[in-house]
């Protein structure tokens, strides 16, 4: 469709590359994002055409009808014309009807899509300022890094997200996978994603939720079916017991850490903060804000609000020795 081509040219004039790490709405990588992309190309083409016509007319009248030094008389007074006014009422109405029908189709195709039996369920809960992911079918709870299987278009295995919030409003937005959906306390929302290609898809919270709204980042890992099965199997295991870090485990369990954090298979059963059972297997900490290295973990534990002002985890005032021990313990939670 030629109108689509105009829109694509517009989009291509700006580097909306689909390279790794992109969060551009113009590099879709899943069905909902593709549907929006095609619709947006139609909309961009129509609006670009309207712009060219109207702005062209404006420039034309400004040049053609500018006053000249030789002017002495007032121009002919024209008070209106019913035919002309009717035409610029009817034509926009036709454009609106066309655009509305195209839009309604995508709304229903996305929001009322029948859920295949092969779909996987994940519960997403927004917290100030991190994400909790629960896999009810597998008994897995994790935080901040969402793993999903890729969805082969021939045998689709989309992931259905059931979303709510534990505190304020949040919004789940991975531009390459789908449009955003808000997480609202006391309300259940759903959305679905089905990336056919493996990879890491980035995004971040899109609804202002408090002080650290900016560093509530989203990471979605689309894994191959075998990788995903292995990941789930690993996550289902209780925490690794390592005698070498017994001291760190004691510090962890004898401080307030366990009031908020869970480590499966131990006395730590807190629910307020991220589940730490397999924290060392993640690439990042602090909701994607910090790379997961021993030095960074130590820094974060010693004073969370130094790295992430507004984070609700208080500084535990551990001495250097205990800090080292706890860090060593956390790094064994593969």
């Amino acid at each position: 469709m030629s109108t689509h081509r105009i829109g694509s040219c517009l989009a291509a004039s700006i580097p909306f590359d689909s390279a790794h790490g992109s969060t551009s709405v113009f590099s879709p990588a899943a069905t909902p994002a593709h549907a929006i992309y095609s619709l947006s190309m139609l909309v961009l083409s129509i609006t670009a055409a309207i712009f060219l016509v109207v702005a062209g007319l404006l420039v034309y009248v400004l040049i053609r009808y500018r006053s000249r030094a030789s002017d002495t008389e007032e121009p002919t007074q024209i008070y209106g014309s019913n035919q002309i006014e009717l035409s610029w009422t009817v034509i926009p109405i036709l454009i609106v009807v066309m655009l509305f029908l195209a839009t309604a189709r995508v709304i229903f195709a996305t929001e009322s899509a029948p859920k295949p039996v092969s779909a996987m369920d994940v519960t997403v809960i927004g917290h100030q300022f991190w994400w909790e992911y629960r896999y009810p079918g597998f008994g897995v709870v994790t935080a901040n890094e969402l793993h999903i299987p890729v969805s082969d278009p021939q045998h689709p295995t989309p992931t259905y997200l059931t979303m709510s919030s534990a505190d304020t409003d949040h919004s789940f937005w991975i531009p390459r996978l789908a449009g955003k959906m808000d997480l609202i306390p006391n309300k259940i929302n759903t959305m679905w994603i089905d990336p056919p290609a493996t990879g890491l898809y980035l995004g971040q919270c899109a609804q202002y939720c408090g002080t650290q709204h900016a560093k509530m980042l989203l990471r979605v890992y689309a894994d191959s079916p075998t990788d995903f099965a292995a990941w789930i199997k690993h996550q289902q295991q209780p925490a690794e017991e390592n005698a070498a870090v017994a001291e760190g485990r004691t510090v962890f369990q004898h401080n307030a850490c366990i009031s908020c954090h869970s480590v499966a298979g131990t006395v730590a059963t807190g629910r307020f903060g991220p589940d730490l059972t397999h924290v060392a297997s993640r690439d990042t900490i602090a909701s994607g804000a910090i790379v997961n290295t021993p030095a960074n973990v130590r820094d974060f534990v010693s004073d969370p609000s130094h790295l992430k002002p507004g984070a609700l985890m208080p500084p535990m005032h551990l001495n250097d020795h205990d800090l080292d021990a706890v860090t060593a313990y956390l790094m064994t939670l593969k």
Partner: protein
């Protein structure tokens, strides 16, 4: 109509005003005045002061966002800045400046000596002014608890449950609530006044169908104020009850609804955009014809389109909520209602173009700003159509694309038209012309700054940058765009400073304007500049939409064509 007073008889022949009085007397005069012109001016000056404050807040935010991971301001400060910027610009700049012009111009344009209720007028101004003062007093008085913050930091639409006591301890949110509530009281008062003045105080011969379009649009705006301020006020009272009496309207932890607040806020919030933009249309309806030297094209269609916009705007509010999970039915309805509003809006743009068509266009500073308004409002309307497409909106909402879109409306359209109105009516208000040379510098600087900032602001939104973030990741490719956006803010600041300088300088040194410097056609240009306290020595009577055209062209009066 043989008993009509000829328009020449309305020209004022009273002697010049008495010599200057003591400062105290002048001050007392202003503080206790009931004159619609002085109240209008106080509204305008008050709004300009807040415009400077709100603008500085924007500049601070742009410095913070110029580079990723900047530490210019803390996250807490940044969150307060965008809350105060939004609240200030909507409630304490946009509303008062537009009501200021309305107060000043409406009685003059309909040949009345004052507003219908002068005391209510003064009350409305002072209560609104008190609201704005209260908002900024929160910086001093907001920390009811240690560490509980000072100014509000909940965003200008203050979504629940962030405003609940548990997430917003201290008093900052209460100051926000009270400030907005009081400003609403003042707004309703002025709207009552405008409706009563327009309906009851028009001079002989001025039928509704002969009113200047400016007055028509203010009438519609005022009716919209009645409908929309009520849910806002109700919501603010419910929020206060939640915070202090233990009710649970919006308290989600006790079963309240966060979405309820969104509905209450946006059924105010979206018509509010039209409440702000209709007066800007009103200025355009007066200024574009005068500098095209032609009557407005399609007067009845323009009035009717404005009424349509007023009605339809009451049915589009939930397009701010396409991502809250309303379901496909509601999303479809609000997509349609939002798209439909583009039809009457389009009629207006086409009619302005037709007014220019065949005219002899004079590029005064006022007209340059009006042309800027036309161009930018066209783009704002087109990005509005993109946002009305709800699936596209799922990507764009709450991103920088939305910020760019509504600043195109608020700055590119409304503020440009307000600048235009200043250049057009300043001579009437002060008796002196604004300097055209400085004015053109102001126009070009501001135009360049505006486009640097708000054209490029769309792009980070399309690249996934959400609004209200105090900083962003360095690897997302947003830095270059943010840098350009921030540099534009500096150029706009320079343009605005030039404008302030021009206003002050011209007040003392500007060329004497005379009664009718633009060779215009509406009644305010028939009295002296500045007009006397009683506006017209003799109540004028009119026989057409352009009484001064009739006076200047007795051989071809407008009345022949109505």
């Amino acid at each position: 109509m043989a008993t009509q007073t000829p328009v020449t008889a309305i020209l004022d022949k009273t002697p010049a005003s008495p010599p200057r009085r003591l400062l105290f007397q002048v001050l007392h005069d202003w503080l206790t005045t009931l004159d619609h012109k002085k109240i209008g001016l106080m509204y305008i000056v008050y709004a300009l002061i807040f415009l400077v404050i709100g603008g500085l807040e924007a500049v601070l935010m742009r410095i913070q966002l110029a580079i990723p991971n900047n530490h210019f301001v803390s996250p807490e400060t940044f969150n307060r800045l965008f809350t105060m910027h939004g609240t200030t610009m909507v409630f304490f700049v946009g509303m008062p400046i537009l009501f200021g012009f309305g107060n000043y111009l409406i009685p003059l344009m309909i040949g009345a000596r004052d507003m219908a209720f002068p005391r209510l007028n003064a009350f409305s101004f002072w209560i609104s002014a008190f609201g704005g003062t209260l908002l900024y007093f929160s910086y001093v008085g907001g920390s009811g608890l240690y560490g509980a913050g000072s100014a509000p930091d909940v965003g200008w639409f203050a979504y629940a449950p962030l405003t609940a006591h548990v997430f917003s301890p201290g008093h900052s949110t209460d100051y926000w609530t009270l400030a907005v509530l009081l400003s609403g009281v003042g707004t309703v008062g002025t709207a009552v006044n405008i409706v009563a003045t327009t309906l009851c105080m028009r001079c002989p011969g001025m039928k509704l169908s002969r009113m200047p379009l400016l007055v028509w649009l203010y009438l519609i705006t005022s009716f919209m104020v009645f409908v929309t301020i009520s849910p806002l006020t109700a919501a603010q009272i419910m929020l206060m009850l939640d915070r202090y009496v233990g009710s649970h309207f919006f308290d989600t932890q006790a079963g309240g609804s966060a979405v309820l607040w969104m509905h209450f806020f946006w059924i105010f919030g979206h018509p509010e955009v039209y409440i702000l933009v209709l007066p800007a249309f009103a200025f355009a309806n007066e200024i574009i014809p005068v500098f095209s030297r032609k009557a407005i094209f399609g007067y009845p269609a323009m009035a009717a389109a404005s009424v349509c916009i007023g009605f339809i705007s009451l049915s589009v509010w939930a397009h701010h909520m396409f991502t809250v999970g309303m379901g496909p039915g509601a999303n479809t309805f609000f997509t349609l209602s939002t798209m439909i509003i583009s039809v009457p809006t389009g009629i207006k743009i086409f009619n302005w173009l037709a007014t220019l068509w065949g005219g002899k266009i004079q590029f005064t500073t006022a007209m340059l700003f009006a042309i800027g308004f036309l161009f930018q409002f066209l783009i704002a309307g087109l990005t509005g159509i993109m946002l009305s497409v709800s699936p596209f909106n799922w990507q764009l909402s709450a991103s920088y694309f939305v910020i760019a879109h509504f600043h195109y409306v608020l700055v590119g359209a409304i503020l440009f038209m307000i600048f235009s109105a200043f250049y057009y009516w300043y001579p009437k208000i002060t008796g002196r012309m604004l300097n055209e040379r400085l004015g053109k510098w102001h126009f070009w600087l501001f135009l360049i700054g505006f486009h640097l900032t708000f054209d490029f602001m769309h792009i980070p939104g399309l690249l996934g940058m959400p609004r209200r973030v105090y900083t962003y990741e360095a690897d997302r490719g947003w830095m270059m765009w943010n840098m350009i956006v921030s540099s534009g803010a500096i150029v706009q600041t320079a343009g605005t400073l030039l404008f302030v300088f021009n206003m002050v300088r011209s007040y003392f040194k500007g060329a004497i304007a005379g009664a009718d410097p633009w060779d215009a056609w509406t009644l305010e240009w028939s009295t002296t500049s500045p007009p006397p306290e009683y506006n017209f020595a003799v109540t004028p009577s009119v026989a057409s939409r352009r009484p001064l055209w009739d006076l200047k062209h007795p051989e071809d009066p407008d009345g022949n064509y109505e």
